[in-house]
């Protein structure tokens, strides 16, 4: 059933052959380092290097059938994965676009380039949809758009999604997939989005409403140090890289090798920051159960 979300006809799914790079620190050089595959039919696993047919990869929710490596999902793929029916998903604020408030050199060009590349106006997709029969305010970041970094638009859209949850009395689910931190091209305006989103979450909290934060690969910097850490329940996708400082910065600072498993979902659960690590294929089912226990605005049958 979940497999269908990744059928090629899906409105919100475009299974790409482009592979993510393993190390988020080198992400900005992604383009250069991409090994071209012979054609669009298969993908080489970043982890085990197995060649996987794209159809099979899509059926497996973009999880490597050999080594369980979770490929990154785009925001549209993530929404498709989670909602019961894509056609019912109502996107909001899809047209909001970044200005260039600091007149930062080349920023407009970059925005244009990523808009073309991703078919998104910005690094986040927000809206309202049903998850296992429960209507929720949904947010998904997109790692492809300037590493899913948070600028004024991303902060504003997330804040509005939080306000929407409050207004419509819906639970909030944010998938912090792709977290490049606060986007430097908008300077302090980006940094302050951390405060803005966290402040809005306080209002949601005061209203007694549920916020489930899902961290996926990669979630770092200003993303992890704001909304992504503030779930009533924090869920981590298996193997996702999550942390505050980037591993390269840490390595340089302490001048030591980093421990195995450092800054993964599993590491965060061990250290008390994440409630539960889940495989992608179990994610929607878990959300259904959590929504059920919190019994929020569900259909009568409460299920899928």
């Amino acid at each position: 059933m979940l497999k269908d979300f990744f059928s090629s006809k899906s409105k919100y799914v475009t299974v790409e052959t482009k592979k993510r790079t393993k190390n988020r620190d080198e992400e900005t050089n992604e383009q250069k380092r991409k090994k071209e595959m012979p054609d669009d039919l298969w993908t080489k696993c970043d982890e085990c290097e197995e060649i996987i047919f794209n159809k099979k990869l899509a059926e497996n929710l973009k999880v490597c059938p050999e080594c369980d490596y979770h490929f990154r999902l785009t925001a549209t793929e993530r929404i498709s994965l989670l909602v019961d029916n894509e056609d019912d998903f109502e996107e909001y604020d899809g047209d909001l676009e970044a200005g260039n408030p600091l007149d930062f050199p080349n920023y407009e060009d970059k925005i244009k380039k990523y808009q073309e590349k991703t078919d998104l106006k910005e690094a986040v997709l927000t809206g309202v949809g049903k998850v296992n029969g429960y209507e929720v305010s949904l947010v998904a970041l997109d790692y492809r758009f300037l590493m899913g970094s948070m600028n004024s638009v991303v902060g504003e859209k997330i804040t509005r999604a939080i306000e929407r949850a409050i207004e419509l009395e819906l639970p909030l689910i944010i998938v912090a997939g792709g977290g490049g931190g606060a986007r430097m091209y908008e300077g302090m305006l980006s940094l302050m989005q951390m405060a803005k989103t966290s402040a809005a979450l306080k209002k949601l909290d005061d209203a007694g409403q549920l916020f489930i934060s899902i961290v996926t690969d990669p979630t770092f910097g200003g993303i992890s140090a704001s909304f992504a850490s503030l779930g009533d329940i924090n869920i981590g996708e298996a193997g996702a890289k999550v942390g505050f400082a980037g591993p390269r910065v840490i390595k340089q600072t302490i001048n030591k090798e980093l421990p195995d498993n450092f800054q993964t979902s599993e590491f965060l659960q061990k250290n008390g920051m994440i409630d539960k690590v889940v495989e992608r294929k179990e994610l929607k089912d878990l959300l259904g159960k959590l929504l059920d226990i919190h019994n929020v605005r569900g259909d009568d049958n409460g299920g899928q």
Binding site: G187, A245, I250
Partner: protein, 318 residues
Amino acid sequence: MGDNKLDFEQPLIELEEKINELTEFMETKDIDLTDEVDRLKNRADTVREEIFANLEPWQILEIARHPERPTVLEYTQMMCDEFIELHGDRNFSDDKALVGGIGKLGDEAVTIIGHQKGKTTKENIKRNFGMAHPEGYRKALRLMKQAEKFDRPIISLINTPGAYPGIGAEERGQAEAIARNMREMIDLTVPIIIVVIGEGGSGGALGIGVGDKILMLEYSYYSVCSPEACAAILWEDSDQAETAAEALKLTAKDLLELDIIDDIIAEPPGGAHRDYERSAKLLKEEILKEIKQLQQLSQDELLELRYNKFRKMGQIKE
């Protein structure tokens, strides 16, 4: 001042040395050079004014990072009649890079928190160069909740290159600690005055940076990331930090224009490190003024204004 001279101050420093020489000469040789010394002093004032009126962002950043810049605990001692440092997060540790305590600022009982740097290498190692761990942010939150209980205004003095990037910091939830502080600070029922007194380094600064008023000392900076990191990422060349400092709009003047901060607090001529007492006096006056104003508001008004302040931050294409 030792080896802590700044390049762009060179003309000024040479003049000052000359003045000292002449004064000494005058005293030992008993020759009257008062006119010459006075002229040189006037000249020095003019030069100082010229230099400091036209500082580049990078130069401001150098003053903000000046090793002799007054630290939080120096300010608290100078500003408060009694200041008692309170330790610990009741949880894991006492972070020496983020300190806090209670005292009286004039007649006003206040809680003061802030990033503590050292002056010497030894002190800086003890203070971890003002880079806090999660337990620092948690101690700050504890002290702020205590302030709320006793209806004391909170003064948060920011001076950090950033939150510490290390293994222990990640293990103990640096991201969580910073995020939680922002969420809680938005709702504390007492006035909160934020002052960037030196370096305002990214999330590490913002972790104690949510409040009713955000002020900056004249020669401090506040930035989404260090200019060095910015240059390294953008141009793969950290030598371009000066260019990045320009682009990032990190000075008090820029941030006032961008509506990020509320006001700029003047520093003594040449910067805070040139006159501690005067710096403390200027800071204290400004803080007390803001507190008095905020105390006019009802609790609801205070919290609503604070929320709206952050709610409207950001600029989007119209």
